[in-house]
């Protein structure tokens, strides 16, 4: 094995909500093409930490971030909080999956197509190819290929979550953030998603917030714990 390659560098990161400090002074690096888990007690800011990585907190009122986050998308390290850095581009490169599956109130196909359309993709053949690829990668294609036009809300919880993963994957992100993606699912559905993440590791740098110690032990290459406002190796 060669030297470890770093994808994300975080320096002195602090997160504040309504002027209250959630965490402060976090310095850490994330390796390329690995799964890093973050666990720890609730309310310590694990979700906030993920949202700092794709700047999603900017959509939440009264939230504030301090510090530096550098990411390497192939052109060396770039400051994602630089004023010229496009937040849209960042979110296309850093995908996110939430705790509760959140399909949009549209058909299965339209859900996956949605981010492509946002990016300005108009060619229907390319869209169809990418939708199929994303659904295949997220182990969902065989289950839904005959009903792509039906409401995404009618899928089971596990399928919905895989749909959300597919929706994030269709943009071919280099980093994938997952916020307790299996906490609302049963054991079997959770295992499918775990296998899926291990496969995805070949393409993406994955940061996974998880409460399940077994899950973390099964799939994480690197284990972190966020507690008492500090993020440390387990």
């Amino acid at each position: 094995m060669g030297k470890k390659q770093i994808k994300i560098q975080i320096k002195k990161l602090g997160f504040y909500y309504k002027n209250q400090q959630i965490f402060e002074n976090i310095c850490i690096e994330f390796e390329k093409k690995s799964i890093t888990s973050i666990s720890g007690p609730s309310g310590q800011g694990k979700s906030s930490f993920l949202m700092a990585l794709n700047r999603l907190w900017e959509s939440i009122e009264d939230a504030k971030v301090k510090g530096t986050i550098l990411m390497d998308f192939g052109n060396g390290f770039e400051d994602i909080y630089h004023k010229n850095y496009s937040v849209t581009e960042l979110r296309q490169r850093v995908g996110m999956v939430f705790q509760v599956p959140n399909p949009l109130p549209m058909s299965i196909y339209k859900n996956i197509e949605f981010p492509l359309k946002l990016r300005g993709e108009k060619n229907k053949t390319i869209i169809a190819e990418k939708v199929e690829q994303a659904l295949t990668e997220s182990f969902l294609w065989d289950e839904v290929k005959d009903r792509l036009s039906s409401d995404a809300g009618l899928l089971s919880g596990g399928q919905q979550q895989r749909l959300c993963i597919a929706r994030a994957l269709v943009l071919e992100p280099q980093v994938l953030l997952l916020d307790e993606p299996t906490s609302s699912l049963d054991e079997t559905s959770a295992r499918v998603i775990e296998d899926l993440l291990v496969q995805l590791k070949k393409k993406c740098t994955i940061i996974l917030v998880s409460h399940h110690i077994d899950q973390v032990d099964r799939i994480a290459d690197n284990k972190l714990v966020l507690s008492d406002r500090r993020l440390e190796q387990k």
Partner: protein, 294 residues
């Protein structure tokens, strides 16, 4: 044990209230239909004119309700046409863009506007007309356009409030979905948030349509007249059903005229029902368009 009795009493009270309301509605509509159904005829609407000629606006109808129906219809269309874009935009601004302090002040203003009696809005429209007539152009008189603008002011608060509340009550998770996929704020509002709240917003619009259809005080001061025929343009006077009903109710000379008033009331209800139907259909169509077309 005691709790159980209170539960039952509360349940009973709630049932009574619901039955009372539904009952009164049935009573009012039933009374109208019972009293007025005999008056409903083509003659009531078109008098002696041939319906086809009247519908094609080839011949004026005298003595029938047709001009008032057309007047009411255009009045509603124009008022909603003015109020809807303004109201939607203001609602979106309040829900998505306004900082807290501005939101508080604006919400208070819109609540006050919602509480202004319609006669005051009518007076305001009338005063503006007089002012424009004297200082700007002596050709400006109370007309369909001024009535529609005044009515738009009257219903604006409903549309603003329902839009704002509908957007604000959307769950945070849905709100974050599109941005996490690279959507800008504007794309999020138009592609996700508005479609998701369209059903609530439509109910505000329906309320506004109803208000435009029934309000008499505003139009009485700003453009409605007893006999005008089909309005030639938005700058002419017009007839409207609620004013006709009010006029008949206060000044009818015989039973026959009173019956026409009842007939007009039923037709007004029917026009509202048709408009509600249309807005419901538009809502379904918009929802389907944003949802399942593949």
């Amino acid at each position: 044990m005691g709790k159980n009795v209170w539960d039952m009493l509360l349940g009973f009270f709630a049932w009574c209230c619901a039955i009372l309301l539904v009952g009164s509605m049935i009573l009012i509509i039933g009374f109208l239909i019972l009293k007025g159904y005999k008056a409903i005829s083509l003659e009531l609407i078109f008098a002696n004119t041939s319906p086809l000629e009247a519908l094609l606006f080839k011949q004026q109808v005298f003595g029938g309700l047709f001009p008032a129906m057309v007047g009411t219809f255009f009045l509603i269309l124009l008022s909603i046409g003015f109020a809807l874009p303004l109201g939607l935009a203001s609602g979106i601004f309040l829900a998505e863009y306004a900082p807290d302090s501005i939101k508080k002040i604006f919400s208070l203003c819109f609540d006050i506007l919602a509480g202004v009696p319609s006669i005051v809005i009518g007076l305001f429209g009338f005063s503006i007309t007089v002012l424009l007539h004297h200082s700007f152009n002596s050709q400006i008189f109370p007309c369909l356009l001024i009535s529609a603008l005044s009515l738009a002011f009257l219903v604006l608060p409903y549309i603003i409030k329902t839009t704002q509340v509908a957007l604000e009550s959307l769950p945070l998770l849905l709100r974050l979905t599109a941005p996490s996929l690279g959507a800008t704020k504007l794309e999020n509002i138009f592609l996700v948030l508005l479609p998701a709240s369209i059903s609530d917003i439509t109910s505000g619009i329906v309320l506004a349509i109803g208000r435009c259809a029934e309000d008499t005080a505003v139009i009485m001061l700003t453009g409605v007249v007893a006999v005008a025929g089909i309005p030639k343009s938005i700058f002419s006077g017009f007839e409207a059903l609620p004013f006709y009903i009010y006029y008949i109710a206060s000044e009818y000379s015989d039973q026959f005229e009173l019956m026409k008033g009842y007939g007009a009331a039923i037709i007004l209800l029917l026009i509202c029902a048709v408009l509600f139907g249309i807005s419901h259909w538009v809502k379904e169509w918009l929802t389907a368009k944003t949802r399942f077309s593949y």
